[in-house]
Symmetry: C2
Subunit: 136 residues, 2 copies
């Protein structure tokens, strides 16, 4: 089981890092139905300001859920809320590190987390926060 | 291209509906690294309050991105922000309808959207809002 409300401390941190591949993006399109050309059409996406295909913002953001559900607080955590700001485009092949930090212990056993994703250049690509109910 | 700031009207709505399968959940685990037993272990998840495996909240929430990126506003939209509240668990096999509605046209060409997901019983499972920059 993951860490409980009692054993979590302000400032506790954990992270998960993964290179997001073309196959990740294509499988994500198939799973979600999001076949936006920005993600799956190199020809069309070359004409955008991003100059090529970009990773779905929600795919990048989902790496946060990986940290929350498997590391901090971990197994048994109930995910109540996730706020995401998509700060910078993520390209296929970028290596993304999702970081989660305990910010505040709230009433009713809930915990506020700072949740951020960085690319291989340590640039912030997704900012945000989450509200969770750690396991009892 | 999708709808522009000028052609969008308050109250405009669109949606996308999909049955979330076991393979969707397993592929999502592989893509994101989120192998939380709640999603992939029937034996363990039977002991939780959900009584079986549940769909990743971020997978359900990602159907919202499908509507935004392919329907309303559609292609060319830049996704700035997404806030999600995970209201009710989604089970493997549930049919989820993601709904997006234009709520407010803001300064700098940005548009505020109400974003919600419902299951096959018309129960709200994900609530939230998004901020986007529609195509010019």
């Amino acid at each position: 089981m993951g860490k409980t409300y009692e054993t979590l401390n302000i400032g506790d941190k954990d992270s998960f890092e993964k290179t997001l591949s073309e196959s990740d993006v294509y499988l994500f399109s198939g799973i979600t139905g999001d076949f936006n050309p920005a993600h799956i059409n190199e020809k069309e996406s070359m004409r955008t300001k991003f100059g090529g295909r970009i990773v779905h913002g929600m795919l990048t953001g989902s790496l946060i859920s990986t940290v929350i559900g498997t590391k901090l607080p971990g197994t048994g955590t109930i995910y109540l809320q996730q706020d995401l700001q998509f700060v910078k485009a993520v390209r296929i092949g970028d290596t993304i590190r999702a970081e989660v930090e305990v910010v505040e212990k709230l009433e009713k056993g809930r915990v506020l987390l700072k949740t951020q994703c960085y690319n291989q250049h340590d640039e912030l690509v997704v900012d945000g926060k989450a509200l969770v109910l750690p396991p009892k």
